[in-house]
Subunit: 538 residues, 2 copies
């Protein structure tokens, strides 16, 4: 591990300590794109960087000095300059289409000649020759179908510091794609992502347990990049690396001193039901008594590696290591946020309220058509409890009251409101996690991550994360995903193949409760299939 001590090494830690509630942001030198303002007057213009790009992309094996000039030049460009270079890379060093078409024509004629060959020894020999020609031409076609920037990207990756530069470049590209979704840029992103997946193969990554003995320059990065439960001060950090806790990072030799992704683990007697127990409750369980390894945070550090699933392999290796080192641990579970729950619920409430308004304006004239889209989000009991809890209901529907209530996080402070919201939020959260899908996958990104790795949904926990962020994201609910070692492969396969979500009986209770009450409720109005069993979010 390179010990790259800068005078700023402890700055982030100290700053975080001074302002315990501040969410630390990545230190400035780590941010991918410098701001538009304040360009360095001594920096080379984009034209020079494009010149080096041309020199590097045209050479069979680009000189290291050219690649270095490109890297330094690119890093010093402002946003506009970087975008100019990215567009040039995507368009000027594209797939050589004329060559591809020529090779295809040749290939098609050889392939049909090979298929038309006769019998006998001579034909046999001809077939062998034709097979050899096909293999050669397929190789040629594979080569020609590579964009001309392929060689440049590969040479850059082989260069010291090159992988990091490519990660920065992709982060810039993703930002650009957000504004300008051009086919050439999309193709560059797709190609670069594919290469990064290969280069960042788990075989090339090293697992390292991060401890209090690691260099401050590394710990600084843990503080800066912890995305799930921000590290508030030195004491918080030290506890996360101390007794009853583990932190593992995945490192790549080309990016030393900085994990690409890291995971935090708590060793407990039981599966914890709130983040409070994990982060703050003292003292920790003696390690010899721990029977549950609880993964409570996974953070990746490189925005440019977005979409590359390193977490899956990290989790697998950490489980393997803990199994070997801590035979007393029998339960491998997470305590995870549900980042999309509230966003989904708010959208759901808004659309249903709008549908209800339209219906009442049109005097139920479209009843047959609209009722297939309309659903009652709340069960009758839940409606009643919410009405009872709110004094000034002004004759509003339960869903409108819920929408109003969830606009801020103030409801947490009222015991009555909290009690009234618990039942609907827990039920809807179970449904959101286990039923709501997009393209056959769980809508919630964290749920999708763990389900595709072979976990099941074990338990949802009320008031498990009472931080402002926790209440805003998921009404304070957190979820335990459980990795049952004997089922991991099977669950991963049935989820990726058939979209099957495995969940525990405790979760099924919430889901059935919805169905039974809803059917009862809907029966009073019509007898169609409860529409909320189909996802409206797909």
């Amino acid at each position: 591990m390179t010990r790259n001590h800068t005078p700023k090494s402890l700055a982030v830690l100290l700053r975080a300590r001074m302002h315990p509630d501040a969410i630390p942001s990545p230190p400035p030198q780590l941010s991918p794109t410098p701001p538009l303002t304040d360009p360095d007057p001594a920096a080379p213009p984009a034209a020079s960087v494009r010149h080096w790009l041309h020199a590097a992309a045209s050479a069979a094996s680009p000189a290291p000095s050219t690649l270095d000039s490109f890297s330094d030049g690119y890093r010093s460009l402002d946003r506009v300059g970087r975008r100019e270079v990215l567009r040039s890379l995507a368009i000027d060093y594209d797939v050589p289409r004329a060559r591809v078409r020529d090779l295809m024509r040749q290939y098609m004629s050889v392939a049909s000649a090979a298929a038309a060959g006769g019998d006998g020894a001579e034909a046999e020999e001809g077939k062998e020759g034709a097979a050899a020609a096909l293999y050669r031409m397929e190789r040629g076609l594979r080569e020609a179908l590579r964009p001309r920037y392929a060689g440049f990207l590969e040479a850059m990756n082989a260069q010291p510091g090159g992988l990091k530069l490519l990660a920065v470049l992709r982060a810039d590209l993703l930002a650009l794609l957000g504004e300008e979704n051009a086919p050439a840029l999309r193709a560059l992103d797709s190609y670069l992502k594919e290469k990064l997946v290969t280069w960042l193969s788990p075989a090339a990554l090293t697992l390292h347990q991060i401890t209090w003995d690691d260099p401050a320059s590394l710990l600084e990065k843990i503080v800066a990049y912890e995305a799930v439960h921000p590290i508030r001060n030195l004491i918080d950090l030290k506890r996360r690396l101390g007794v009853g806790r583990r932190c593992f990072g995945y490192f790549h030799p080309a990016i030393p001193g900085e994990p690409l992704i890291f995971i935090e683990v708590a060793l407990h007697k039981d599966m914890a039901a709130s983040i409070q127990e994990v982060l703050w409750d003292e003292p920790p369980t003696p390690e010899s008594e721990a029977s549950c390894a609880l993964f409570y945070s996974i953070s990746s550090t490189q925005p440019g590696l977005s979409g590359i699933n390193l977490g899956k392999f990290l989790l697998k290796r950490v489980i393997d290591m803990l199994r070997r080192d801590m035979p007393s641990v029998q339960i491998y579970a997470t305590l995870s946020p549900i980042p999309g729950f509230m966003q989904w619920l708010r959208a759901k409430l808004a659309s249903q309220i709008k549908l209800a308004e339209t219906e009442s304006q049109e005097g139920n004239s479209l009843e047959g058509a609209s009722s297939t889209f309309r659903e009652s989000i709340l069960l009758p009991d839940e409606e009643k409890m919410i009405h009872d809890a709110i004094e000034q209901a002004h004759g509003k529907q339960g869903s409108e009251l819920l929408q109003d209530t969830l606009k801020t996080t103030q409801w947490v402070k009222s015991e009555k409101l909290s009690a009234a919201l618990k039942s609907p939020l827990m039920r809807l959260c179970a449904r959101y996690l286990a039923r709501e899908k997009i393209r056959g996958k769980a809508l919630d990104a964290v749920a999708n991550f763990h389900l595709q790795n072979g976990a099941m949904i074990e338990r949802i926990n009320w008031m498990a994360d009472q931080s402002e962020k926790g209440i805003q994201q998921s009404g304070g609910i957190m979820v335990n995903y459980l990795y049952r070692l004997e089922n991991i492969e099977e669950y991963a396969l049935s989820y990726s193949g058939k979209g099957l979500v495995h969940s525990s009986p405790s979760l099924s209770q919430y889901l059935e409760q919805g169905i039974i009450s809803a059917i009862g409720y809907l029966d009073q109005e019509d007898d169609s299939v409860p529409s909320f069993l189909c996802s409206l979010w797909a």
Copy 2:
């Protein structure tokens, strides 16, 4: 580094110590293919291994347990079984040709439609759509042109121990290709090699200085794999890792505890002219007085990685590191073997003697035609010296006498013979190194390696390696290649582009001596261009 202590850890060292002249061979567990005899009766048959191959190669993401079963099964197969599996891999999981042809037809029609599009805003929009379609189809074609085993190889590489298995598999494949040069097997080798180059990108490799403090299991491998100057005993090994010496290995995270390639360096006052000075002369130069870093051995450890140039990057990184750590070192040079010299010379002598015989039998009738192929290997002075040194010449030509003499290594023991051979062997060796080419590259593999990395030929040294192997390979001559930091990039480019070999004035002397004398000599017979300036070895 994994400390994989086996009871055998020191066995090789101890055995080597007991038999100081024995060349240690790799320990049995490292040899890629088990012998044909003595198959394990409990081992699974090739059919089971093919079954796992099928399960793994058919799945979108193969289960780790299936890949493990394949690995274990493959390793336990004998040679015949392994070859059956390799053939199945190459043929049954080949490129899906029908799909490739379908996609090509679609691509060609979209590409011509895109080219035929008109002007105006609508056409512009159509063009954007067509461009997006082309990119998508190119991606699809790249995907379809990948052999169906591609996904299997990638999943295997991502698996713990998978990279090593793939290296074993390629070593087996190379051995099979030596006997059965089928197009499908060649295509598999070419594809696998391409993937290995990507996976073993220098960005994924870690440089580690190997010292006497490293685990015995690692040092054992250095002893086993040192291919240039075998390590004779523990004292020899300890000296190579001690004061005035360096040993650096390139490690991949997926193959821990074993370098893929390693290099040995001696720190001297001057560029050493014999391996004796490097390996045996005592005491070493104090490091503060060293001004020359001499690379005297590079060995790679994985036969399955043959043809993948890891040495180039290793050398570059070691030079960079030494430049930083040892500013007093000004000269970066090698003391290298010339593994192909004697083989080339013997072939040259044999063909020239045969040509001369044919000519004398046919009574010079074909003089005009044959003289363009015939050349005098020895200069007149050299002929004379060899005749004088050999008592029973029996009226033989100098080249015949040289051929006879070089059949054994006994000539080294005769002072008179050695003195007579020095001049022709040194001159011919300079010519062999600097002039003899194959496909535009130096015929000698070690020369080609250093020249393509940007070195120049600085000096050849008489009686520099008096070991049996050294005399047999190169008549005891060794060569210093010099890396001039300011010229490395330029020399590498002009060698790879134009086949230009840079050499010092001392080497040019030998080369010119040949030309001048030869022209004088040939003038007596005919006035054609001296034919030995053109390579007959291409």
